[in-house]
Symmetry: C2
Subunit: 221 residues, 2 copies
């Protein structure tokens, strides 16, 4: 449960918010002013009761027969995701994954702006990735302080993750998005979001073996 | 629950397998032959009972006082993840994210090899990303068939995801790793793994707002 402005929002609802937002913006672009919970449910393949509960969390009230004002829902959801103000972040680790995140179109409209990139490798310092000049890691604290940055995105190799995370926290970072395949050991005060590509692939891999086995058995019978 | 070789393995166990594997390989590299469940539990910050249950799923039996043979555990876990044979995959969408995945060091030892890259954009065809020449999407079916590929990784924009996924399935793809911020509508026969970066960022964002609010309230009191 996440509490924002004294409203408690379940985490699964937060996770669905970006999908709602995407859809609502598509409807807004087509000039549509109202949207019903039924339409949202159909297009996102959710149960209408689920959509109604999620919408209740936004504080936006629907109107009988017509539904919700699209613009009102967009503003409310963006507010709860903190996407009404762009969130500035720094990125540590100027490799391929770092470049991908900087260039990721999906973030464009979702309030994430990567403003600085740091790397320990002296050979990378001064070069550009995604239009951002790579800075030496020693300048991290200065940048975090100067621009009041709260979020660091970590895309370094596993063995370097803990040490750069500690540097970031010491510099004043409050939230870390960790792409390194390594669990970070930090104070409970720090919000950590982990995206582990290897674990995701493991899941796909195992499910697929299971599935292909089943098919073989069916065909063998 | 995933069933492989008639052994049922819970999904959370599958998700922990890559972390075990990483740790076991580190121990093997240091020349260590045996490992205890207690050591595994301590290093991965898991409960020993959890580790014992996970190890039971591998079918490897521990020896009293000394624990498990590291090499046996590595082989067993790699087998259940299908990583004892490298899995070949194709990638659709030759953008930054595609390049990142091709260059991602984390996959190197985890049995995923991207052997071909496709893109709809004629201007990209013939260029290289991560050392692989980009092919036209029309050649997808031929490649899937020729090399017996089961997995497609989709890194195209949201609006193109459904159509390229359908092409892949028609070509014989059985498992899709979808990075496009879009739910795919495919036959139940297809295994889909979704990695949605925007949703992960939404979660981090909302947790952080919640957390900063709390801190403000504590400080204000």
């Amino acid at each position: 449960m996440i509490t924002i402005d004294n409203i408690s929002i379940p985490l699964p609802t937060i996770r669905r918010f970006p999908a709602y937002l995407r859809l609502l913006k598509e409807h807004a672009n087509r000039g549509e002013v109202w949207i019903s919970a039924t339409t949202l449910a159909e297009e996102l393949k959710l149960k209408p009761i689920q959509v109604r509960k999620d919408m209740a969390c936004t504080g936006v009230e629907g109107k009988p027969k017509v539904g919700f004002l699209v613009s009102e829902l967009v503003l409310a959801i963006e507010h709860y995701l903190g996407w009404d103000n762009t969130t500035d972040a720094i990125l540590i680790g100027a490799g391929n994954l770092g470049a991908a995140l900087i260039g990721y179109k999906g973030f464009e409209n979702n309030g994430l702006r990567i403003i600085a990139v740091f790397d320990k490798d002296r050979r990378k310092v001064g070069s550009q990735i995604g239009g951002i000049v790579v800075s030496q890691i020693e300048d991290l604290a200065k940048t975090v302080d100067k621009f009041g940055i709260n979020i660091a995105i970590i895309t370094v190799p596993a063995h370097a993750a803990q040490s750069v995370a500690e540097m970031a926290v010491e510099a004043g970072i409050k939230g870390i998005w960790n792409f390194a395949p390594k669990n970070l050991n930090l104070s409970d005060n720090i919000v950590i979001q982990k995206t582990d590509l290897v674990t995701s692939f493991a899941e796909l891999s195992a499910k697929l073996i299971n599935h292909l086995d089943e098919q073989k058995q069916i065909q063998g019978k």
